[in-house]
């Protein structure tokens, strides 16, 4: 086996490992990693202060034939004998890859080594910053570029008053011109962060427990608690220098376009490489280099395709984008100080070709513009600059997704030849939009251009979407289906619109779901408050909040199941399901259950199902919060809440996550300081881990935020759209969701709170409402003219000591039935 040694386990190194093991698994690979942890997502580093853990940032995965030596940096290389040495070992190689990345640049300044002065590069750096910031008030960031703004964001998240000091005359001078930098400054100052440009630190000194930084400006000095240097990075080429590999004048290991260094058996990729003398500080060109070397090692002849240095970022909530050239023969700009937007396009001298540009404050046209660089200007300048409607006229060769190199031609092919009908299918088919996601709006536009009509109409009777019907019902106060369809629909309805409207009426607290006309709208499960099974019998699930149940109640369930001869099974939601109940027996079964203190479990409804829990601090030696009590409180608060689809939840008492909360629509995980809230998780056909919405909050904040999350979902989701798809479909995703329900960006939180308050106040047990009402009770009969006569067709057989629908076990062996497919007799 040939030996491959990789020095460095960063983002590019990790991409390389994935590529090389996939293409040629015969390499025996050793990775020497200086940091104590394997590769992590450095691009999202500041999320660490937003509650995202080091584990969540990890990019590590088990790869075949790859051994990663953590905390074991390479210290020297003997190129003639082809061995890499560390302090504790030696690693012979046939091929060697440098992926050492960069280090944070600290300008020579007196006092830069004082306690309280940091750089912003690794998780260790961040942990040190976090530890030092405890109980502190003020921080200074030196550097107003990408990294500096990230660091400023981090300090803000730590609750520090933050000051940015930038040597250049404006912010992000590498990506923006003066006007763009000015608009960005305006946004950032609005957030309460100080910005001083054209200012350089000259000396740091310690005084009475704090730091003082003097500057090159007369009389300007900062008294602060901590200072972060974020003034750029330099390639880590020291090891290469020492072993005689050629490096560039301004640093970086010199390579050709195939990433080969001056030693033909040694490659360099990522930020440490000076490809034909040029270092790239972005991750995308680094990924391209990783692919090139993986291909070469597998016998291919790939070369570096050139770097797209375009960037689009949300920095401190402000959209900033730059693409193509910074300067050119012609340029046109648009500045709107009132709304804080700036746009500049660089054009060829005949103004026909787009060469580049920048956007601040509103980066919506970015995907279209970036994809058009080098081609025809894709629309009227006024529309492109001022945020008007732009009809796409991209050439087929234009790259839509630069992360995965997908062109417009690929997308249109997927739409027309492979029949992709929505963004999800395009993602699966072409990989476009699966990395940074910035091209997703573009994908939507291309679907439209490809003639794919995306209709959200509920059914043939209503052209409106579920969300629109929800708004109509809420605003008009209509309380009946007949009035709604007469005024806003056609025909008499169907099995799609009736339950949808029933659910909307129920979400808006319109009394018992079987009261008056509402009874005629409910799907059979809701109509009989039980789940119909394949032979027409029902299953019965009483609510067991948080999965906590007394022995007495367990006995009642056992007695009921025995009396009515029901099959029993423990569900995945920590409760007990009883199957095989005849429709005429349901009221008798529930009379006993209600008398024993049980309530409906809403297993039949598009509603809250269960809130699972682990045992938390009550019993568990690891628990840090009372997860059972929280689960019970949440389940009781949201029981009966009707929604576009079923809702599941769980509460875990510590980070071990025994309740599997991240697979739920809303999941809560206890921390030492409070609770982390995750939303949009799912199991089922398309499993999805929930996204972190809030971290370390107290119980009150937690509940208030869940209230708003649920009501916002109920108000705006499509029919049968689970929260996972809903969160994914929100433009701006989880950040937008946080802006709406935490920061109240849309000013609707008061209304969402009131809707939930109304739900909580009006909750009443649905089964109690039936067994106390003779009119409703008379619907629970086998035959209207023979109420107690059992349906003779319902037969059971005994298997494993319990009863099953007759023929069901046979059926499962002889004729497999795809779920949801009609079976012809």
């Amino acid at each position: 086996m040939s030996k491959l040694v990789v020095i460095g386990d960063g983002m590019v190194g990790r991409r390389f490992l994935e590529a090389v093991t996939q293409r040629d698994p015969s390499w025996e690979v050793t990775v020497l990693c200086e940091e104590p942890r394997p590769a992590y997502d450095r691009v999202r580093l500041s999320a660490f202060f937003d509650g995202v853990s080091a584990e969540e940032l990890s990019l590590a995965s088990d790869l075949p034939n790859v051994e990663v030596k953590l905390g074991e940096p390479a210290v020297s290389i003997a190129r003639t004998s082809k061995v890499v040495y560390t302090d504790s070992g030696e690693y012979p190689y046939d091929k060697l890859v440098f992926a050492t990345g960069s280090y944070a640049f600290v300008p020579p300044m007196e006092g830069a080594d004082l306690e309280g002065v940091f750089v912003y590069r690794t998780i260790d750096d961040l942990e040190a910053i976090k530890a030092h910031s405890e109980g502190k008030r003020h921080g200074v960031v030196i550097g107003g570029g990408l990294l500096g703004l990230e660091a400023a964001n981090a300090l803000k998240l730590l609750g520090l008053e933050t000051q940015i000091v930038e040597f250049a005359p404006w912010l992000m001078a590498r990506q923006l011109d003066e006007a763009g930098g000015g608009i960005l400054k305006q946004h950032i100052e609005k957030l309460g962060i100080g910005v001083d440009c054209a200012t350089g630190g000259t000396k740091i000194s310690a005084a009475s427990g704090r730091l003082r930084m003097e500057t090159n400006r007369e009389g300007v000095a900062y008294d602060t608690d901590l200072i972060i240097f974020a003034a750029g990075v330099r390639p880590r080429d020291q090891l290469a220098r020492e072993c005689g590999i050629e490096v560039g004048e301004r640093g970086g290991i010199i390579t050709d376009l195939s990433c080969v260094t001056s030693d033909p058996d040694v490659y360099a990729i990522g930020e440490v490489a000076a490809m034909e003398g040029m270092c790239y500080g972005l991750v995308a060109p680094g990924y391209s280099m990783a692919e090139v070397v993986a291909d070469r090692l597998a016998g291919g002849e790939a070369t570096f395709p050139g770097a797209d240095m375009s960037t689009k970022l949300k920095l401190l909530g402000v959209d900033v984008a730059q693409f193509g050239a910074m300067e050119g023969p012609l340029s046109t700009t648009y500045l709107d100080p009132a709304h804080g937007t700036y746009a500049k396009l660089i054009l060829s001298d005949d103004a026909q070709t787009l060469l580049g540009g920048m956007l601040v404050g509103d980066a919506e046209p970015y995907p279209l513009l970036r994809a058009s660089v080098g081609g025809k200007v894709p629309g009227k300048l006024a529309d492109l600059l001022g945020g008007g409607e732009i009809e796409g006229a991209l050439p087929d060769g234009a790259q839509v997704c630069s992360c995965n190199a997908v062109t417009k031609g690929d997308i249109m092919g997927a739409i027309h030849e492979q029949g992709c009908k929505d963004v999800g299918e395009l993602k699966a088919c072409t990989k476009a939009g699966t990395s940074c996601g910035s091209c997703v709006p573009m994908l939507k536009q291309l679907l439209k251009e490809g003639g794919v009509e995306v209709s959200n109409a509920v059914c043939e009777h209503f052209t409106q979407s579920r969300a629109e019907l929800f708004d109509i019902v809420k605003v008009t106060g209509i309380t009946t289906f007949s009035e709604l369809i007469a005024r806003y629909g056609t025909g008499i309805g169907c099995d799609l619109c009736k339950p949808t409207v029933a659910s909307i009426l129920a979400s808006l607290s319109n009394g018992h779901i079987l009261e008056g006309e509402q009874a005629s709208l409910q799907d059979t499960n809701d109509h009989f408050l039980a789940n119909m099974q394949r032979n027409g019998t029902y299953s019965v699930v009483p609510r067991i909040p948080g999965g906590e149940i007394t022995p007495d109640k367990l006995i009642v369930i056992g007695e009921v199941a025995k009396e009515f001869d029901l099959y029993t099974k423990i569900t995945g939601g920590q409760r007990i399901d009883m199957f095989g109940a005849r429709v005429e027996d349901l009221p008798k079964i529930w009379r006993k259950l209600v008398d024993a203190g049980f309530e409906s479990g809403h297993a039949y409804g598009k509603a809250l199902r269960t809130v699972k829990s682990c045992v938390g601090t009550d019993w568990c030696r690891y628990g840090v919060q009372d997860s059972v009590k929280m689960a019970i409180d949440l389940e009781l608060r949201y029981r009966g809440l009707r929604s576009p689809h079923k809702l599941k939840s769980a509460v875990s008492g510590c980070a071990r996550e025994c309740a599997e909360a991240r697979g739920k629509d809303f999941g809560i995980i206890a921390t030492e300081h409070g609770w982390n809230l995750y939303v949009g998780g799912n199991g089922g056909f398309t499993p999805r881990h929930a996204d972190l919405l809030l971290s370390d909050v107290d119980s009150e904040t937690l509940v208030r935020t869940i209230d708003r999350f649920l009501m916002f979902y109920i108000s705006t989701a499509d029919r049968l759209q689970r929260t996972s798809k809903w969160v994914e479909g929100l433009e701006g995703g989880i950040d937008y969701l946080r802006e709406v329900i935490v920061d109240d960006k849309l000013g609707i939180c008061g209304e969402l709170d009131a809707l939930m308050e109304k739900h909580v106040e009006n909750y009443a047990d649905e089964w109690k409402g039936v067994i106390d009402d003779p009119e409703k009770l008379q619907r629970f009969v086998s035959f209207v003219n023979a109420p107690e006569a059992p349906d003779p067709k319902i037969e059971f057989e005994e298997v494993r000591g319990q009863k099953f629908p007759a023929g069901s076990t046979e059926r499962s062996h002889s004729t497999p039935v795809a779920l949801g497919t009609p079976v012809r007799k």
Binding site: E460, G491, D495, S520, R534, V784
Partner: protein, 113 residues
Amino acid sequence: MQAICEFDRIIPGRGVAALLEDGTQVAVFRLADDSLYAVSNLDPFMDANVMSRGLVGDRGGEPIVTSPLLKQAFSLKTGVCLDDETVALEVFAVEVHDGEVRVGVNSEVKASA
């Protein structure tokens, strides 16, 4: 024709199951406009007596009932399954007499539909 229940016993927009003297099970529906339809209660796809518990509505103006199990739609006028025309429910005659709903086997119903 056999009387099965009072007209007011059936909620507008829903159905009831009735047991005829010969053991036949019939699903009787009352639409929102008070019109009545009767079809076999047996879901031919799943072989279970559940049709009376399906939702009624219309498809392109044709009154329908949807199976509560796998959601196939059947015409209430002809009994034919709109999702698979090789399958149909038997259609029964239904009328209101002195405030009572009466149901019977009626081969003319199909012809008049």
